[in-house]
Symmetry: C2
Subunit: 127 residues, 2 copies
């Protein structure tokens, strides 16, 4: 994981925004600063979804139906790939009852509008 | 999907090897020609696994326990990322009883030993 500090800082900023603003505050408009406009998500239990408007609907429904209260994201590996990045990571979602759901993911990152954003986001559960 | 024909042909060759030789013939040694030596897989229902030896054990167990008879892989999008590729795709696994399991995936491809191979492979189910 020999990425420049500025890149790692950009990734931390975007990941922090997802955890603090999207998940904790349930502010779906912050997803404009997390995903590229034409991003794909590939959620378990649903078909793939493209475009940030549809991604906002997905996350609002997912967060409210599961009653997710908090999330943390931890990078396991991140490699530069041309002017993009490929990250493998682990996430933990904390539900209202205190239950923690461990998740693993791959994100293809792109620069967009001055920030590092998620262009392709796929995840699954260990159990 | 504006990749050079030679790249698309290389992807088709590797994907074909996985379907015809790994899945249909249950020849796990062919996985040396599918994955890079230090590849990661992120399977649903298990933790992430690194290295082609461990990946062979995973697939042997998964294919035999589910009794998978056939597989097909379809590229939805593929983008070059430096000297690597990021692919979004759909797969169908056919079980012995004829049941078909739809799968979606993201693969980060790298050149290795003269071939295009899967360096990171993550998937999940729609249901």
């Amino acid at each position: 994981m020999s990425l420049p500090d500025t890149v790692l800082a950009g990734m931390r900023k975007t990941n922090g925004l997802f955890c603090s603003t999207v998940i904790r505050q349930r502010d779906m408009d912050a997803l404009d600063r997390v995903y590229t406009p034409d991003a794909h998500i590939l959620p378990p239990g649903a078909d793939m979804i493209q475009g940030v408007a549809a991604i906002k609907s997905f996350w609002l429904q997912a967060i409210t139906s599961l009653d997710v209260k908090d999330a943390s994201l931890t990078t396991v590996s991140a490699e530069s790939a041309g002017d993009t990045l490929v990250e493998i990571g682990r996430a933990e979602l904390t539900l209202a009852g205190g239950q923690i759901i461990p998740v693993k993911y791959v994100v293809h990152w792109k620069r967009h509008d001055g920030a590092w954003k998620w262009h392709t986001d796929i995840w699954n559960m260990n159990q």
